[in-house]
C-alpha cells in the first residue's frame, strides 16, 4: 500500500483535522465522535442542507460544506456509511426551525442510517427529509433506476439543494427542486486502476495494465464492460452514448456537464475527455450552459474519469449558477 498516511486507524480523523486546519473559515469538526464537518455557524432562517457518507471521495461528501452548499455533513470510515449519530448531529446543527434536507447517495447503509436519523430528528420536532442521488446509469437499467448507485451527480444535486435553501425556499420547495435535479442527472465512469482502502491494505480490485472498466462504481463495483484501453475519444464516445441512450437531449436542450477525475488522473487527461464530450454533446443538439472539469468526486488513488450530465430547466439553471463557495468549488 503506497500512501502518504500515518496509520489506517487514524486516517479519516487526521485528514479531517487537516481539512479543518487548512480551511477553518469553512470547516469545523463537530459531533460527539468528531465525525461531523460543519460550517462555523448555522445560517439562520433557511432550510438546512446536510449530507453524509463513506470517506475517501473528497470533495464528496464533506468537502461540499460551504456557502450555498451543505451546512453540515456526517463522515463515515473509508467507503463505509457513518452511523446514524453524526447524521442526526448534522441535522440538528443545520436546523433553524425550517426543516432539513438530507442529500443521500443511494447506498444501503447511508439510506438506512439517514432514515433513522430523520426519525430521531422528528422526536426533536425537526422535520428532516431525504433526496436520494442514484445517477450511475451503469449500475442498473432505466426500469430499475432506483437501484443505481449515487456517484458524481451528487455534486450537482447538492449545489441545487444548497442554492434553493439559500434563496429562502420552504422545505417542500427545496425538496421538490432537489428531487428534480436528482431525477435529471446521469453519470457514468471509467476506471483505469484501483484504489486501496487503508484498513484493507491492498487494492480493492485487480485490473490488467492494458485494461479499463467502463461503468465501474466509485468503490470498485463492477461496471458494464471490461476491455482493452482505447483512445480517449472512443472511451468518451462510449460513455456519452450510454448517457444519451438513458436520457436523450432535446435539440437546444440546456445541460450542465461535469468531467470528473477519480483521484489519480492527470488534469491534462480530463481536458481531453471534456474536449470530446463537448463535441459529442453539442453535435447531439445540447447547449452546455455550465461545465466543470476537475476532481469533484474521487476514490482516493483510483485512476479514471466520469461524466455527469444534468438536464436543466430554468429554475435548475438559475440555482446551479447561483453563488456558492467551498474550498473545492467557487461559483
Amino acid at each position: 500500500m503506497k500512501k502518504l498516511i500515518n496509520t489506517p486507524e487514524n486516517y479519516v480523523d487526521e485528514v479531517l483535522a487537516g481539512m479543518q486546519a487548512a480551511h477553518p473559515e469553512t470547516y469545523r469538526i463537530g459531533g460527539a465522535t468528531g465525525r461531523m464537518l460543519h460550517r462555523p455557524a448555522p445560517v439562520p432562517e433557511k432550510v438546512g442542507v446536510v449530507s453524509g457518507g463513506g470517506f475517501g471521495h473528497i470533495p464528496v461528501f464533506a468537502g461540499y460544506v460551504g456557502d450555498g452548499l451543505l451546512d453540515a455533513c456526517a463522515v463515515g470510515d473509508v467507503f463505509a456509511s457513518p452511523d446514524m449519530n453524526p447524521m442526526l448531529e448534522s441535522i440538528q446543527f443545520a436546523d433553524q426551525g425550517r426543516g432539513v434536507l438530507c442529500v443521500v447517495g443511494n447506498y444501503g447503509g447511508d439510506r438506512m442510517n439517514f432514515d433513522m436519523a430523520c426519525e430521531m430528528a422528528e422526536m426533536d420536532d425537526i422535520e428532516a427529509r431525504k433526496v436520494i442521488v442514484a445517477d450511475d446509469v451503469a449500475a442498473a437499467g432505466p426500469d430499475e433506476a432506483e437501484k443505481r448507485r449515487g456517484v458524481a451527480g451528487f455534486v450537482f444535486v447538492t449545489k441545487i439543494a444548497g442554492a434553493a435553501a439559500a434563496q429562502g425556499k420552504t422545505l417542500d420547495d427545496v425538496v421538490a427542486v432537489t428531487q428534480r435535479a436528482a431525477d435529471n442527472v446521469r453519470s457514468v465512469g471509467v476506471a483505469l486502476s484501483s484504489c486501496t482502502v487503508p484498513q484493507a491494505g491492498k487494492p480493492t480490485f485487480e485490473i490488467a495494465d492494458d485494461e479499463m472498466e467502463i461503468g465501474m462504481g466509485i468503490h470498485g463495483e463492477p461496471g458494464v464492460r471490461r476491455g482493452k484501453l482505447r483512445p480517449v475519444d472512443e472511451i468518451t464516445d462510449e460513455m456519452i452514448d450510454m448517457l444519451l441512450a438513458d436520457k436523450p437531449v432535446e435539440a437546444g436542450g440546456r445541460i450542465a456537464v461535469l468531467i470528473n477525475g477519480l483521484g489519480a488522473t492527470p488534469i491534462e487527461e480530463l481536458y481531453l475527455v471534456f474536449r470530446q464530450a463537448k463535441a459529442r454533446l453539442e453535435s447531439a443538439g445540447a447547449v452546455i450552459a455550465m461545465h466543470l472539469v476537475g476532481n469533484y468526486a474521487t476514490s482516493m488513488e483510483m485512476a479514471g474519469a466520469s461524466i455527469s450530465v444534468l438536464h436543466l430547466d430554468e429554475e435548475l439553471e438559475t440555482l446551479l449558477t447561483a453563488p456558492a463557495n467551498c474550498p473545492f468549488w467557487k461559483v
Partner: protein, 202 residues
C-alpha cells in the same frame, strides 16, 4: 408498577452483566455462517448502553430513542441497525409517557417488529430474529406481569430455536450458506434467547 425508565435501566444492567460470554458465543455462531461480528456488536452495544443507563429521560419514548442512538453508535452490523430500529419504533409507541402497563409490551414489540420488517426487507420464516420476535409477541399477548412473562418468553424462545434449527437461512449474510445453515441456530435468534436468559434470578 409498569414499565418505566428504571425497568430499562435494570434490563440493561442484567444483560450487560453477562454480555461478555454471550458475545463470545455469538461471535462463534455468526462466524459459522456470516462474518463473526455479532458478538462484537452486542458487547459494544451494551457497553454504550451502560454508559447512558443512569441518564435516561423520564419520557419512556425519549429513553428508548436514547438507547437506539447509543446502539447505532457501534454501527455497521445488521443486528445493531435492526435493534436500534426496534427501539425507536417501540419508543414512538410510548412517546410522552413515563410509565406504561406491562400489558402493552407485546404491542411495543409488534411496532418494533413492523419497523424491522420495513427497514430490513426480510419476511417471517426467513429464519431471523424476526421469527423470534413473532413467537415472543404471541407468547406475551394477554399476560399482565413480568412474573408471568419471563417463563412464557423462555419457553417460546426455546421452541422457536428448535423449530427453525433444521430450516435454512433465507436472508442476510447467512443466505449464501443456506445449506450449511441447516442444523445451526440463527445467531440473531439465539442472541435474543440469551438476552431473555439474563433475567432469570440466579
Amino acid at each position: 408498577m409498569g414499565i418505566s425508565k428504571n425497568t430499562l435501566k435494570l434490563a440493561i444492567e442484567k444483560i450487560a452483566e453477562k454480555i461478555d460470554p454471550i458475545g463470545d458465543e455469538m461471535n462463534r455462531l455468526d462466524g459459522q455462517l456470516g462474518d463473526g461480528d455479532l458478538g462484537v456488536t452486542l458487547v459494544n452495544g451494551f457497553r454504550n448502553l451502560q454508559g447512558i443507563k443512569d441518564d435516561l429521560p423520564d419520557d419512556l419514548g425519549r429513553a428508548l430513542f436514547a438507547m437506539a442512538k447509543s446502539v447505532t453508535a457501534v454501527s455497521g452490523s445488521s443486528f445493531g441497525t435492526l435493534l436500534a430500529t426496534a427501539l425507536m419504533a417501540a419508543g414512538k409507541q410510548v412517546k410522552d409517557q413515563s410509565n406504561v402497563a406491562w400489558s402493552e409490551l407485546p404491542g411495543m414489540l409488534q411496532a418494533a417488529q413492523d419497523a424491522m420488517v420495513a427497514r430490513g426487507g426480510a419476511s417471517l420464516g426467513d429464519k431471523t430474529m424476526l421469527d423470534m420476535m413473532d413467537s415472543l409477541i404471541s407468547a406475551l399477548s394477554g399476560l399482565q406481569t413480568p412474573a408471568e412473562m419471563l417463563p412464557a418468553a423462555k419457553t417460546a424462545a426455546e421452541q422457536t430455536l428448535d423449530s427453525f434449527r433444521d430450516q435454512p437461512n433465507k436472508i442476510g449474510r447467512a443466505r449464501v450458506y443456506a445449506e450449511k445453515s441447516i442444523g445451526l441456530d440463527d445467531p440473531g435468534m439465539m442472541a435474543i434467547a440469551r438476552m431473555i436468559d439474563c433475567f432469570e434470578t440466579p
